[in-house]
C-alpha cells in the first residue's frame, strides 16, 4: 500500500530531523575552524541508488541539493554492516567536485537489507598537492590538486582501515585537522544510521521503504507542477567569467533551456571547451548533477516554497553536457577552482529563467569578490600568522517588487563575514574601511544591491594576500527589464596614490608595510528603467550614501540641489535619458560585455564551438587561445563577428600547425 499523504509529511519531518541531527553532530565535533565557520559541508540520507532524499535546511552549503551518490556507491562491490566509505576524487563516481571535498557514506542495514546510506561531505582546508589549500587557478592537472582517494572503505565491518588513513594523512599539510574532521564525519554518518534505526522502529520497515521512495516522488510531483507554470519555449542565455586562466581570455558558459510541459532540458553545447586551468566543473556528463543545477533548485524553491529539497526535484530535468567542455571535462583536467565557474553557471541559468518567468526573478547578484586570506608576520614575536578576512560579497539583484538586498543575498546569501575586531586581534592587520560600495548597485526602477568594499594594510614585509574566486572585474552582473548592470569588481593596490596598481583578477599578491589593499565586489544588477525610479527614493538613497549625487543625476536623471529634488531639472534630464534609451527594456549588460559581444557574436561563438568541438580534447584550449588572440590582434574596425572570419582565422591556424589539421582529420573519422 502506498504511504498516505499524512504519513508522508510526518516521515518528511523525521527525515529532516535525521539530516539536521547529522549536521549538528558534524558541526559540533569538527576540528577545523573552516568547517565550523563557513559551514562548507553537507549531510543527508541517500537511497540504495544514491539519490538523496533528506538534507538539512538550516546548516551547510546550499549547492548540493539532491546530490547523486549512485556512481560513487557502485564503485564499491559489496557493502557490509559497519562499513564506511570515502572519496575525494573528482573523477571517480562524480559525487566529489574538487579534491578538498571529502565525501563519506555509510550503508545502513535493517535485518540484512541495505535500506539507505547516510552521506556527508566537508571541504577540507588542505588535501596536499602543489599549493597550500590545494586550490589555484594556475594548476592544470588534477594530480596537482592533492592526494585523491577513489571510493574506498575507511571502515570495514567497523574496523578502521589504517592503510587508507595513513596514506591520506601522509599527503596533507595539516593531518590533525583532516583526521579530526574525518572523525566528525564518521560521527555524523553514525548519527544518521541511528536516526534511521529509530525511524524504522517508529514507522516499520515497509513504511520507511515506501516513504523513502514517496518523498522523492513527491518532490518530483512538486517540481513538475512548478515547471508546468513555466511557459513552453526555448530560452538562451550566456555569461562569461573574465578569464579562463590567469590573464586568459573570457570563458563562456551558455545554456539553451528548453521547457516542454513539465520537463526541462538544459543544453550546454554552446559553452567553452574544457580549460587548461582549474576552472572546469567535473560532472561526468550526469545531466542532473547537483552542481550544475544550483540555480534550478533556487527557482523551484521560489516557485514552490514548500518544495522538498531532494533528488526528486531533479527528475523532470536533464542536460546536455558535451564531453571535453568546461561543464564536463575529461580526466585529468584540473577542477579545484570550479567554485568561480559554478557561480557563473548560476547566473547563466538564472538569466534563462528570467526570460521564461518575466517579473519573477532578480537581476544578477553581485559576485566576483573573493574569499580573502592574509598571511603575515607578527613584528613583536616573529611568528607567522594566517587568517581569513571578510569575504567580499555583493548584493542581490533588483526584482519587479523591490530593490536587492545590500551586500549579500539571492544565490550569494550564505556567507558570513568576519568581525573587523576579530581580524585585527588575530593578525597584525589594520582594516581601514569595510562597508557598502556607493554607486556599485546597478541603476534601475528597483536598484541592485550594493557590493561591499574593504581596504586594509599590513605591518610586516612579504605578507601574502590570497583572493580566491576573483571575477566580474570586466563583465558586470546584468540588469533586467531595462535595469542597468551593476558596477564591476576591483582589486587595487594603493588606490588613489601615485603607486596605484590594478590587480584585476589576480588571486595572490605579496605586499609590504605601507601598501594598501583595496577590494570591492561587483554590485548587483538593477531592475527596470532607472528614470522610472521615484525621485524621492533616489533622494533617500543619496541621503543614505548608497548613491552619489552625481550618479543620481547621471544614471537616474534626478537632479538634487541643496538636499532637495530640483523638479524641473529632473523632468528635463529624465526626458533626455528616456529619449536616448535604445530598444526594448531587456537585459542590461555593461559596456565591456556589449563591446565583446559585438565581436564575439552568438553566430561567431556557435562557429567557434563547432570548430573546437570537432577537435581532440587536448587541442581545444590551445586552439581557443590562438583564435581569440588572433581576433584580438585584428584592428578593431576589421573585427566583424561573423563565422566566415573565424573560419578564415582557423584555416590560417591549421596552416601554421600542420599537426592541427591532422588531428582534426583524425577526430573526424
Amino acid at each position: 500500500m502506498a504511504v498516505d499523504k499524512v504519513t508522508l509529511q510526518i516521515l518528511a519531518n523525521h527525515c529532516s530531523a535525521a539530516a539536521e541531527s547529522m549536521a549538528s553532530t558534524l558541526l559540533r565535533t569538527a576540528h577545523s575552524t573552516f568547517v565550523k565557520e563557513t559551514e562548507d559541508f553537507t549531510t543527508g540520507l541517500a537511497d540504495p541508488d544514491g539519490k538523496t532524499f533528506a538534507s538539512p535546511y538550516e546548516l551547510g552549503v546550499t549547492w548540493f541539493v539532491g546530490l547523486d551518490y549512485g556512481r560513487a556507491l557502485r564503485c564499491i562491490d559489496r557493502y557490509e554492516d559497519g562499513d564506511i566509505a570515502v572519496t575525494n576524487d573528482p573523477y571517480s563516481g562524480f559525487v566529489c567536485t574538487h579534491s578538498p571535498d571529502m565525501h563519506v557514506w555509510k550503508p545502513i542495514f535493517h535485518e540484512g537489507e541495505l535500506v539507505c546510506f547516510s552521506v556527508t561531505h566537508v571541504h577540507n582546508t588542505d588535501v596536499g598537492g602543489a599549493v597550500p589549500a590545494s586550490l589555484s587557478r594556475t594548476l592544470t592537472e588534477v594530480h596537482q590538486e592533492g592526494v585523491r582517494l577513489p571510493p574506498v572503505k575507511l571502515y570495514k565491518r567497523g574496523e578502521l582501515n589504517r592503510d587508507v588513513r595513513d596514506i591520506l594523512l601522509a599527503n596533507v599539510r595539516m593531518p590533525d585537522q583532516n583526521w579530526g574532521d574525518m572523525n566528525a564525519q564518521v560521527a555524523c554518518v553514525n548519527t544518521g544510521a541511528r536516526k534511521v534505526g529509530e525511524m524504522i522502529a517508529r514507522f516499520g520497515i515497509d513504511t520507511f521503504r515506501e516513504g523513502r521512495a514517496a518523498l522523492l516522488d513527491h518532490a518530483e510531483a512538486q517540481a513538475r507542477r512548478a515547471i508546468r507554470g513555466i511557459p513552453d519555449g526555448s530560452y538562451f542565455f550566456a555569461d562569461y567569467t573574465d578569464e579562463d586562466a590567469v590573464g586568459g581570455h573570457p570563458c563562456r558558459i551558455a545554456v539553451r533551456m528548453i521547457v516542454k510541459g513539465d520537463e526541462i532540458l538544459f543544453d550546454f553545447s554552446e559553452s567553452d571547451p574544457q580549460l587548461n586551468s582549474s576552472l572546469n566543473i567535473p560532472t561526468g556528463g550526469n545531466g542532473r548533477h547537483a552542481i550544475i543545477m544550483v540555480s534550478y533548485m533556487y527557482v523551484m524553491r521560489l516557485l514552490d516554497p514548500e518544495i522538498f529539497l531532494n533528488s526528486g526535484i531533479l527528475r523532470p530535468i536533464d542536460s546536455i553536457l558535451p564531453k571535453g567542455s568546461v561543464v564536463n571535462p575529461e580526466f585529468p583536467a584540473a577542477v579545484g577552482m570550479r567554485t568561480l565557474t559554478t557561480l557563473r553557471l548560476q547566473s547563466v541559468l538564472l538569466g534563462a529563467f528570467a526570460q521564461a518567468l518575466p517579473g519573477r526573478l532578480p537581476a544578477a547578484c553581485g559576485d566576483g569578490g573573493p574569499l580573502l586570506n592574509v598571511r603575515t608576520t607578527d613584528n613583536r614575536t616573529g611568528r607567522k600568522l594566517m587568517a581569513n578576512l571578510n569575504p567580499i560579497s555583493g548584493g542581490a539583484g533588483g526584482t519587479a517588487r523591490r530593490g536587492g538586498a545590500e551586500g549579500s543575498g539571492a544565490n550569494f546569501g550564505f556567507l558570513k563575514n568576519t568581525p573587523i575586531e576579530i581580524s585585527e586581534a588575530e593578525v597584525p592587520v589594520t582594516i581601514l574601511g569595510y562597508g557598502l560600495a556607493r554607486d556599485s548597485g546597478g541603476a534601475g526602477q528597483n536598484r541592485g544591491g550594493l557590493g561591499t568594499e574593504m581596504e586594509f594594510e599590513v605591518h610586516a614585509p612579504h605578507s601574502f594576500v590570497t583572493a580566491r574566486n576573483r571575477d566580474r572585474s570586466r563583465f558586470a552582473p546584468w540588469g533586467l527589464e531595462g535595469g542597468e548592470a551593476g558596477k564591476t569588481s576591483a582589486f587595487l593596490l594603493n588606490r588613489g596614490s601615485n603607486r596605484e596598481v590594478d590587480l584585476g583578477n589576480t588571486d595572490i599578491v605579496s605586499i609590504d608595510p605601507g601598501d594598501r589593499v583595496y577590494l570591492r565586489s561587483a554590485g548587483a544588477g538593477g531592475w527596470g528603467r532607472p528614470w522610472t525610479r521615484a525621485a524621492d527614493r533616489v533622494l533617500a538613497d543619496v541621503r543614505r550614501g548608497f548613491v552619489s549625487q552625481a550618479a543620481a543625476e547621471a544614471e537616474y536623471g534626478v537632479v538634487i540641489r541643496d538636499g532637495v529634488v530640483d523638479e524641473p531639472a529632473t523632468t528635463a534630464r529624465r526626458t533626455a535619458l528616456e529619449g536616448a534609451a535604445s530598444g526594448e527594456a531587456g537585459f542590461g549588460f555593461n559596456r565591456a560585455r556589449r563591446d565583446y559581444e559585438a565581436v564575439w557574436t552568438r553566430a561567431a561563438y556557435e562557429a567557434f564551438v563547432r570548430l573546437v568541438g570537432a577537435l581532440p580534447v587536448h587541442w581545444r584550449y590551445f586552439v581557443k587561445q590562438k583564435l581569440f588572440s588572433a581576433v584580438e590582434a585584428l584592428p578593431p574596425e576589421q573585427r566583424r563577428g561573423d563565422p566566415a572570419q573565424l573560419y578564415a582565422l582557423f584555416d590560417a591556424l591549421a596552416a601554421e600547425y600542420p599537426q592541427l589539421a591532422a588531428a582534426r582529420a583524425q577526430a573526424a573519422e
Partner: protein
C-alpha cells in the same frame, strides 16, 4: 509575614502568583493584558488579589515584575529616534550585520530594515587599535558638528559604538563627555557601557536595542513605581532580567537591555524550580502559547545560558537564559496544499483572531480546533472564564481541511495533531542534537496555554518517558520571578594567550570584575546581604573563531595555576565537542563574573495525601485512535498526592487542559505536580 507577589505580563494575559509566607500556599490569577495601557493590568491584578484572596496591598512584602514593554517596542518599531556614531568608513555595520541571509535558499530574501536608518549613521575620525592604543584622537569639533546634524535630523538619542571600544572605551567616553557638556538633554549610550564584548556588530546592535527601548521602559517603570506606591504596596519593586535574575525597578530604568527577554527567562527559572522540586533535575521545558513554543534545556536543575537571542528582527548579545523559540503554537493554522498534502503552520491565528473555536473571528482551522473536534478540550472552562470553546465552529473549520483530504472531520483533526507534533519533533530534535543530549534521559515539563495539551504526544515522538505538568502551568513565569535571585553579569575582553606570563593580567582582570560586581550589588542594587561570585572565561584554542564559556575555580585563579585553568577548558571542550587537544595553545578571550545574591525561595506547601481514589468529574466523549470513547475528565484541584490514573484522560484547570493519551499513566507528587509516564507504545 506577608505575601510575595510575582507578576508577568504576556501578550494575552498578565499572570499573578502570590505566595503566602505564613502558610506556604500559592494563589494565582490572570487578567487580560492591556497593551493600550501598560501597567494598568498590574493594578487590576492587585485589586483582584484583594477581592478574590483577601490580600491587602500593604501585605505585599516582595514584588517582582516581568514586562514585555521593551520587546514590544522593538517588534512594533516604536522606539525613540536614534543616531549612531561609528568609526569613519565603518558606517554600514547595521546594514551588513553578519552578511548571511535569514533563509539562504530564498532568492528574494531581504534583511529587515535596521533600527537606525543609514542617514542617521555618522562616521567620526578617532581610531583605537586592537591592542587598545590610540591611532587617531577624537576631534571635538567633528563630534559636535555631527551631533548637531543628527539632532537637526530628529535624533532623540545617540548611540556611540566605535571600533575596538571593547578593549579601550576611552574614545566612546570622550564623545559622551563632549555631548553631555554641550547637549545635556540628549541621551548618549556607549557600546562599551551597555555590554563591552568583542565583535563590532554584536556590540553595536546590543547598544542600539538598549538605546531604542530605554526611554519607553524607563517611563513604564516610573509609572509602575508610582502606581504601586499609590496602592500602598510597601515592597521595592524588582524586575526580572533576561539572565534569569532580578534587579530593582529603579536600576531597570537605566539597564533596560538586561530585562528585555525577562518573560521567557523567568519561565525557565520557574521551570527549573519545578524540575528540582519534582525530582526531574534534567528537564526540557516546553512553553506553548498561541503562536510559538519556547523550549529550554534544564540540566541538574539549572537553566543553560547563551547569547544571541532574537528580539523581533534582531539578535541581542547579553547573557540570557537559553531558550529556543519555534513557530508552532495552539493557533498554528492547518491547510491542504494543491498536491493534497496537509501542512500545519508556520502561519498562526495567534490570539487575535485566534482559533475558530474561540469564536473571536477566527475561521481557519488551528491545532486548538483539532483538539476541540476530538473532544480533548472544550469539556470545561478555560482561561479563568475568559475563553469558551465552541466545538461547532471547530468542526466547521477543520471540516474544510477534511473535505480537501476526503476524510471524516475527526480523522482530519487527528492528522493535524500528528503533523503538528512531528513538526515540533523536527525542531526539538535540532535543539537536542545541537546541545548533544539524549532526550530519553530528560523529562518534558509542559506549561503555557497549549503545552500540557500537546506534551504527551510530543514526548512519545521524542522517546521521552516522563511528562511533568506544574501545579500552575499558566503562570510559571510569574512563579519564576518569585524564585529568581538578584544577579548581574560582568565581562572584560582580554584576548590573551593562556601562559604563565599572562596570569597577572588575568588576575587583575578578575579582581577588577569582582570589585565592579560588589560595587554594583551594594551601591546600585542596594543589597547588603550575602552574595556569591562566580568566575568563568570564554576560551578557545588558538585559531578557533568561537569560544566556550568555561567555569573557573577562584582558587586556581588566585594561585595563578595556568595549567588548571587550561585543563578546565580542555574538559569543557571535550564535553561540548567530544574531543580536546591538550597540546594546543589556549586563548582567553573574555573574563566573566556573575554576582548572585540568593533570594528567599518560597517553601511551597506539600499537599495532603489523597484519602481515596481519583474521582473524575464525569466521562466525556473523545475521539481516540479512530473511535469515540468515554474518557474520564478530572478537575486538576481534585487530583492529590497519591492518586493515579491512566490514559486516555483529560485534566481541566483554569490555566490549561492536560491531555493524557493512551499508553500514559499519571500520578501526583507531594507538591501537586502531575507526573505522566509513558508505559506502553501505542
Amino acid at each position: 509575614m506577608g505575601y510575595r507577589v510575582g507578576v508577568d505580563i504576556g501578550g494575552t494575559f498578565a499572570d499573578f502568583c502570590a505566595f503566602d509566607e505564613a502558610t506556604g500556599a500559592l494563589r494565582t490569577l490572570k487578567v487580560l493584558s492591556r497593551p493600550d495601557a501598560p501597567g494598568s493590568e498590574v493594578m487590576e491584578g492587585i485589586r483582584q488579589l484583594r477581592s478574590r484572596f483577601g490580600i491587602e496591598p500593604a501585605q505585599i512584602s516582595y514584588f517582582t515584575h516581568g514586562t514585555t514593554v521593551g520587546v514590544n517596542t522593538v517588534i512594533q518599531r516604536k522606539g525613540v529616534k536614534l543616531a549612531l556614531l561609528t568609526t569613519a568608513r565603518f558606517t554600514d555595520v547595521l546594514e551588513l550585520a553578519r552578511l548571511k541571509m535569514p533563509d539562504p535558499y530564498d532568492l528574494l530574501a531581504v534583511r529587515p530594515a535596521p533600527l537606525i536608518p543609514k542617514d542617521m549613521v555618522f562616521g567620526i575620525g578617532g581610531r583605537v587599535r586592537a591592542d587598545g592604543g590610540e591611532d587617531r584622537p577624537i576631534d571635538r569639533a567633528e563630534v559636535l558638528a555631527v551631533a548637531r546634524e543628527a539632532r537637526a535630523r530628529g535624533a532623540e538619542g545617540i548611540v556611540v559604538a566605535l571600533l575596538n571600544a571593547y578593549r579601550n572605551p576611552a574614545q566612546e567616553h570622550a564623545v559622551q563627555a563632549i555631548l553631555r557638556a554641550e547637549m545635556p538633554d540628549l541621551q548618549v549610550y556607549c557600546s562599551a557601557d551597555v555590554w563591552p564584548v568583542v565583535r563590532e556588530y554584536e556590540r553595536t546592535i546590543t547598544a542600539v536595542i538598549h538605546g531604542y527601548v530605554q526611554a519607553r521602559v524607563a517611563h513604564y517603570l516610573g509609572s509602575l513605581q508610582q502606581a504601586l506606591a499609590r496602592e500602598g504596596v510597601p515592597a521595592v519593586a524588582q524586575v526580572t532580567k533576561s539572565n534569569g535574575g532580578v534587579m530593582s525597578a529603579e536600576l531597570g530604568k537605566t539597564r533596560c537591555a538586561q530585562m528585555i527577554l525577562s518573560g521567557t527567562a523567568s519561565g525557565v527559572i520557574g521551570a527549573a524550580h519545578v524540575a528540582r522540586l519534582s525530582g526531574f533535575p534534567d528537564t526540557l521545558s516546553l512553553d506553548i502559547g498561541g503562536t510559538s513554543a519556547d523550549i529550554a534545556i534544564i540540566r541538574d536543575g539549572q537553566p543553560q545560558y547563551g547569547v544571541g537571542e532574537v528580539i523581533g528582527d534582531f539578535p541581542i548579545f547579553l547573557p540570557t537564559v537559553a531558550v529556543t523559540s519555534i513557530g508552532a503554537g495552539g493557533g498554528s493554522i492547518a491547510a491542504v496544499d494543491e498536491l493534497g498534502v496537509l501542512r500545519v503552520g508556520p502561519e498562526s491565528a495567534g490570539s487575535t483572531p485566534g482559533p475558530a473555536c474561540y469564536g473571536r473571528g477566527g475561521e481557519r482551522p488551528t491545532i486548538t480546533d483539532a483538539m476541540a473536534v476530538l473532544g480533548f478540550i472544550g469539556q470545561a472552562e478555560l482561561g479563568y472564564g475568559a475563553v469558551t470553546v465552541d466545538r461547532a465552529r471547530a468542526v466547521a473549520a477543520v471540516g474544510t481541511v477534511a473535505h480537501a483530504m476526503g476524510v471524516p472531520v475527526e480523522q482530519a483533526a487527528e492528522a493535524i495533531i500528528r503533523i503538528a507534533v512531528s513538526g515540533m519533533y523536527l525542531e526539538v530534535s535540532k535543539l537536542i542534537s545541537r546541545a548533544g543530549i539524549d532526550p530519553r534521559e530528560f523529562a518534558l515539563q509542559a506549561f503555557g496555554g497549549a503545552g500540557p495539551m500537546l506534551a504527551c504526544f510530543l514526548a512519545a515522538e521524542l522517546g521521552m518517558t516522563h511528562v511533568v505538568v506544574p501545579t500552575t502551568p499558566g503562570v510559571l513565569s510569574a512563579l519564576g520571578g518569585l524564585v529568581a535571585d538578584v544577579k548581574n553579569d560582568f565581562i572584560r575582553t582580554v584576548y590573551l594567550d593562556l601562559e604563565p606570563a599572562a596570569m597577572a593580567g588575568i588576575q587583575a582582570g578578575f579582581a577588577q570584575l569582582g570589585a565592579d560586581a560588589r560595587r554594583w550589588l551594594a551601591e546600585e542594587q542596594g543589597h547588603h546581604g550575602a552574595f556569591r561570585l562566580v568566575a568563568s572565561a570564554d576560551m578557545r584554542y588558538r585559531g578557533q573563531s568561537y569560544e566556550i564559556e568555561t567555569a573557573l575555580a577562584a582558587a586556581d585563579i588566585d594561585a595563578g595555576r595556568t595549567a588548571a585553568l587550561a585543563e578546565a577548558f580542555h574538559a569543557a571542550h571535550e564535553r561540548m565537542f567530544g574531543h580536546c587537544d591538550r597540546a594546543a595553545a589556549v586563548q582567553v578571550i573574555n573574563l566573566r563574573m556573575i554576582i548572585v545574591a540568593d533570594s528567599p525561595k518560597p517553601a511551597l506547601a506539600r499537599l495532603a495525601a489523597a484519602t481515596g481514589p481519583a474521582a473524575p468529574l464525569r466521562h466525556v466523549d473523545v475521539h481516540v485512535g479512530g473511535a469515540l470513547r468515554a474518557v474520564p475528565l478530572y478537575a486538576r484541584a481534585d487530583l492529590l498526592p497519591g492518586h493515579d490514573f491512566s490514559g486516555p484522560a483529560i485534566i481541566a484547570q483554569d490555566d490549561t487542559t492536560t491531555c493524557v493519551p493512551d499508553g500514559f499513566t499519571g500520578t501526583v507528587d507531594a507538591y501537586g505536580h502531575l507526573i505522566l509516564t509513558l508505559t506502553a507504545r501505542n
